[in-house]
Amino acid sequence: MRANMHRACVCFFGVATVMSGAAWGQAKGSLFGIDYATSGYLRTDIAINTNDDPNPYNQFGDPFNQVTVTRTPGNPGLPVDGLPILAPILREGLPFSVPLGVLTDEIQRPQKTVTNLFNYNVLRWEQQLELRFSSALRFVGQLRGIYNLREYDDDFDARDFRNDQGMIEGGVPELYHGKPNHYDYRVDGDDHPQMFEITGRDYFVDFPALLLEYSKGPVTVRAGNQRIAWGQALFFRVMDKVDALDLRRHLILDRALEEYSDERVPSLGLRVTSQVASTVVADAFVKKFQPSVLPNPNTPYNVIPTQFTVHDMYAEGGYDDEVNYGLRLKGDYGYWGWQAMAIRRFNDAGVFRWTETGVDKDLPNDNLLGTILNTYCATVLNAGTGCGPLLAQTAFEVAPTPVSVVSADEWFWYAADVRLGGISALNAAIDEFPAAQQILARSVGDDFERAHRELSAFFQASGGLRGHIARDYYQEDVFGLGASYVTETDEPGSFFNQIIFNLEVAYTPDRAFTPLNLSQRPLRSDETEIAFVAEKYHRFTSGFPATYLVFQAMHKTESDLFGRHLSGYGGEAVKGRNTEKAIASGVDGGATYVAFAFLQPWPAYIWELSAAVLADVRGGVLVQPGLKWKPSGAFTVEGFYNYIDGTTWNDNPNDSTLSTADFMNEFTMRFTYQF
């Protein structure tokens, strides 16, 4: 079925391309009694990196590249099943409590650090085709094509790092076994989880809209691939819960005032909208569940450290057969308005957990610990030639040093950075995987030093490990309420006249989050999200058009802007010998963000100056000034700068949501030709 759909998609792509190519640009008319209209644009997007530090989540940006760190392993756990009296001590107290100083070594990730000039350099084509069969029935197709004009990290190729440990073996080969793959979206067990797109390493073609629309009286029905947005708040997605986000292209770094225009994930569905009363609109949908798409490893905006291999369970977990559905009512009564919604959906962010690698690769025998453990696995556990069969049942894959985690300090730095628990994640990877215990790994409670020694021992023995994590999706119910109010004053031209206030609240009981320890059991808690919006359109002088101003604030009780649970915040890690400060302490009081944006057009709207600021009250800002020039209907030139600082008024970057994007300072230029 899926293959057939994909073939149909490819077929349509061909037809649409031929039609659009023939029309090449804006055209309209009638063909065989069907009216058609097509239009589109070409655009180049160039984002120039202005950051000294490269993306830390990519191989060429790992902060531990060529940084010397010391590894002192500890004594491993012992197989003490036959000694029940000593078992509690040997199994739980003793392992890794004694540093084996004689085995201490120093290690550098033998990986260069590369700073790219261009983060994003693409040619983009969009074409829309509308076919009208009758006044009530029409077809809408949108084609979006992107070609990557320049390589990023162009001399990175995972295959170059093959050594005695082999190469990276786990995961989807197109994503992990070669050069950076910008646009392929792959999940385990399905090469086409998004049926309406065709992608390659450097190109991307999809159909953001491919639907039939039927309207009769106050009712409109849309069936097909489509996107839906709800809520008055921009950027803060409190009521905007229908679509996932596709972050493969320019993450969320496009102009803030475009919101998620290019990021919303379309999906197959049915939407019915009806004006049920003169003041009330009902909007209902049923859509195939599509998760958010994260940037691929070693691509410019990747946010998952590449030492992880992600197994997206969208297909193998059966989530690709699931649907989301919901209803929203919106009423407007002059100065007042309200909205209410209820959605049953699979949370598109997903929940990550440790998973077995399936990679049967022994520990290297070029070091003492590796040799001992391989011998132990082979002789005592009868595991073959070494520990490979057992490692395959753990969450860790033996991988070449440059493309894996090689030190405990690197482990703790990344754990703190991605808002996970460095020790608890280690414990869960051992406790929930018996094979790990068989090769003498032991959970260490909350003892940081023992965890450090245990990690050092296994990194030394393996030469480097890659962690395998699975991404699952959990169903949830989201209930939302909103109210709006428009101020009216008698004073002409008052700033306080016509301010539109909106308050939106969403409540999700028993929401599933990624647990800090990457356990098989998700972290569950009820979450409330609140957004407040104040918008104003004000003319400050008679010489310039009115300025659009918007202030927004959002509060989330359990997670941050990106959906990470707040209990993972607060770890203070350094690019050297870490201490227990690196362990997440969590933050209380929820996450609060404020945003302010303005848009100031020049007379006749030929020029537009805009700026947007997003601040995390715990520290960290994103500032985006921009200028747009539209000299004619066909041409548009835009330039905007993204300045992101995760430590604006906080010392610890891991207290701020925005530190995750701290490396993304860049200047973007766009040149659009519309036809």
Binding site: S135, V486, K536, Y537, S542, P545, S632, T636
Partner: protein, 459 residues
């Protein structure tokens, strides 16, 4: 036999004398609306010199001739300064036709009938709203066909823009810069519907559940691609001092959001020189402007008839003039016997870019036939001249119920200070889906609800 004893100076003296006494009584030889009501046409209200361009120019320009740089001096007093300048120096030309005397060809049929039957029933209440004698919203037609004040003229214009209970205009807009190059090209639709003062659509005169509203109005754009789907819905309360509610669909946001509505002097789209406030010269609630005053009366040249172009399938108009021959619509004008010039100031908009507007109304039907706005320094800023027509020529006609369709056909908005020109025209249809016309049954559901906005907003 029409009276010829009144020379050219008589009408001038008459208009000046009335002005000095501070009275407005339309008609020169007889009260205009008494004549129109009795005879259905206005010949006996005006002397010859106001009924024929030949007579007015003493034969220098004959009906059917073209006004151009070589002869514009003879009609300089009949033009606003910017049109005179455009004809003299920018190659603009105007074709001429005979003056329309038949009242029923000057507005929609039902509107004129209601104007005649409801004459004298309108008044302003204490809030400044136009109401009937018993304080109810207006019941249809022009409430002040025999206006005495500038406010009455603007009240009628604001109450009913298109003079139909509902209208849909498929339109195209071209923005021409000072070099004559068309820089911006837009196409879209404009819908308006009145829930009160209805004269054609049932229920009449009120759509009871929306009796507290003056109009529903939406505008959306189909071209260019970048703005396809951009659409706005205005819901006007009947109260003449309250701003409408504004809902908009911006394609980037993919949803309908409420927008502030008190800023009405902003270009709707890049490159255009027209504001929301400029719509029909009365784009804002009546009492958000003030100091309405009559500042002049006299004959005028305006495009009142013969402005429909059935020779083009979609009614598009030819262009001429300007550096590239593409700056002005081909326009046919006639001598309007009496225009009433009214000025008003944007009293509720202290930072508006304009200080006042001067609007010419045709005394026969009180339609707006010209407007000049002035900047904050009092200098002429922009000028608007539009064209109306009965959509009937020979055996070709577009029907609105039992009678030919009457509407505007094109508008020229000139930015006097920059030299830019925005051309706007009504076309028959866009994309075989959106058809110009009046009093369509399904206009509300198709264009004037939030649900409709979502549909217009694209996918």
């Amino acid at each position: 036999m029409h009276i010829r004893r009144f020379d050219r100076g008589y009408t001038r003296r008459k208009f000046l004398a009335d002005a000095s006494r501070g009275v407005l009584a339309t008609g020169v030889l007889a009260p205009l609306w008494d004549v129109l009501a009795a005879e259905g046409e206005m010949t006996s209200a005006y002397p010859d010199e106001l009924l024929s361009l030949d007579a007015y120019t003493q034969g220098r320009i004959k009906t059917g001739d073209e006004i151009h740089a070589g002869n514009v001096e003879f009609v300089k007093d009949l033009l606003e300064p910017i049109r005179y300048e455009q004809i003299l120096n920018q190659g603009r030309r105007l074709k001429t036709t005979r003056t329309t005397t038949d009242l029923m060809r000057l507005s929609p049929w039902e509107y004129i009938e209601a104007t005649l039957s409801n004459r004298g029933k309108a008044r302003f209440d204490e809030r400044g709203n136009v109401v009937t004698a018993d304080g109810q919203p207006w019941i249809g037609g022009n409430p002040f066909p025999d206006p005495k004040t500038g406010l009455e003229l603007f009240a009628a214009q604001t109450l009913s823009w298109g003079r139909h209970d509902s209208s849909f205009y498929a339109f195209e807009v071209q923005d021409v810069d000072v070099s004559g190059k068309v820089n911006f090209d837009y196409a879209g639709g404009w819908a308006e519907l009145h829930p009160v003062a209805r004269v054609s659509l049932s229920p009449k005169p009120y759509w009871e559940k929306h009796k507290d509203k003056l109009r529903f109005q939406s505008v959306f754009f189909l071209e260019p691609h970048q703005y396809r789907g951009t659409s706005f819905l205005n819901i006007w309360p009947y109260d003449h001092k309250t701003f409408p509610q504004l809902y908009g669909y911006i394609p980037e946001f993919r949803r309908i959001r409420q927008h502030p509505t008190d800023q009405r002097f902003e270009p709707l789209l890049p490159g255009t020189t027209m504001y929301l406030s400029d719509a029909w010269a009365a784009g804002d609630p009546l009492n958000t402007w003030g100091n309405y005053r009559i500042v002049g009366r006299g004959p005028f040249l305006a495009a009142i008839s013969d402005g429909w172009n059935p020779d083009e399938a979609d009614w598009r108009h030819g262009t001429h003039g300007g550096p590239k021959g593409d700056s002005f619509w081909d326009t046919t004008v006639e001598l309007v016997p009496e225009a009433i010039v009214v000025e008003a100031e944007p009293t509720m908009f202290p930072r508006a870019p304009i200080s006042k507007k001067r609007v010419w109304f045709d005394a026969r039907n009180q339609v707006v036939i010209g407007m000049v706005t002035y900047d904050r320094r009092g200098q002429p800023f922009r000028s608007f001249d539009g064209a109306y027509s009965l959509y009937e020529r020979g055996d070709k006609k577009v029907m609105d119920g039992a009678h030919p369709y009457w509407s505007w056909t094109h508008v020229i908005a000139s930015d006097i200070q920059s030299g830019g020109i925005t051309r706007l025209q009504q076309v028959r249809q866009l994309e075989n889906s959106h058809f110009s016309g009046a009093n369509q049954d399904d206009l509300y559901d198709r264009y004037l609800t939030q649900s409709a906005l979502l549909r217009l907003g694209g996918a």
